[in-house]
């Protein structure tokens, strides 16, 4: 299950959809809006989503995780719209008989979602300016996509 949501993500409800009496291990990840990025104070984040392709690509990622790892179930949900500091932007959860597979699959889903699912993030700063942020090169922090038009 891969879902784009316009309303707050509820990890407890999302988890309940996954649970299974066979599952010994449940691993989840929550990505939250931070108050700083690359040294700048962030006030607000806006997520824009190419919905049709995001849901297709997200479903492929979940199916790949099911194939690659010995897991029972996996899901991922991502927000669209305006988010405040501390709001959950993305959630992923995996259940498995053994925890190793659950950790690996959950990490895989988040990595691939960030790499492949067309979701854009605009950071609004305390200074009043804003920037569209792109995926950083490995080891780097996020950087603006393009200079703002003046």
């Amino acid at each position: 299950m891969f879902r784009i949501s316009s309303t707050a993500l509820n990890p407890d409800a999302l988890r309940r959809e996954l649970l299974d009496s066979r599952a010994g291990g449940y691993v989840s990840f929550e990505g939250r809006v931070r108050n700083r990025n690359a040294g700048r104070e962030v006030c607000l984040l806006e997520y824009e989503v190419y919905g049709e392709l995001a849901e297709k690509e997200g479903a492929r990622i979940i199916a790949e995780a099911q194939r690659k790892f010995a897991i029972f179930s996996a899901a991922c949900a991502h927000r669209r719209g305006r988010l405040k500091i501390g709001d959950i932007a993305v959630w992923a959860g995996v259940t498995a008989e053994h925890r190793g597979a659950a950790f690996a699959a959950c990490s895989y889903i988040i990595d691939e979602t960030k790499k492949r699912v067309p979701i854009w993030k605009k950071e609004h700063y305390a200074t009043g300016s804003s920037d569209w942020i792109s995926q950083p090169a490995p080891g780097k922090t996020h950087k603006p996509v393009a200079k703002r038009k003046s």
Partner: protein, 80 residues
């Protein structure tokens, strides 16, 4: 001339000043179409950093552009 529907997101949407437009174009590929749109809208992103989708599937920059399709140029993104 082909009729193409183009959809914009994020920085391209802001630079185009709209999220969608219908255009008539002689372009045979997404690459040629993007060049044309750069001239029209003053896009600052080089094609090399973008991906392209035709009818909601990723496509090659030199894929044939058929009449009536929907094209999305996908700027660098960063979910999560």
């Amino acid at each position: 001339m082909k009729r193409i529907q183009v959809q914009y997101f994020a920085v391209l949407r802001e630079q185009a000043g709209c999220s969608e437009e219908k255009i008539k174009t002689p372009a045979d590929t997404p690459a040629a179409l993007y060049q044309e749109l750069c001239r029209r809208h003053g896009f600052t992103l080089p094609a090399g950093g973008l991906k392209v989708a035709i009818n909601d599937d990723f496509a090659a920059w030199d894929a044939p552009l058929k009449d009536g399709v929907r094209v999305v140029f996908i700027p660098p993104f960063a979910g999560g």
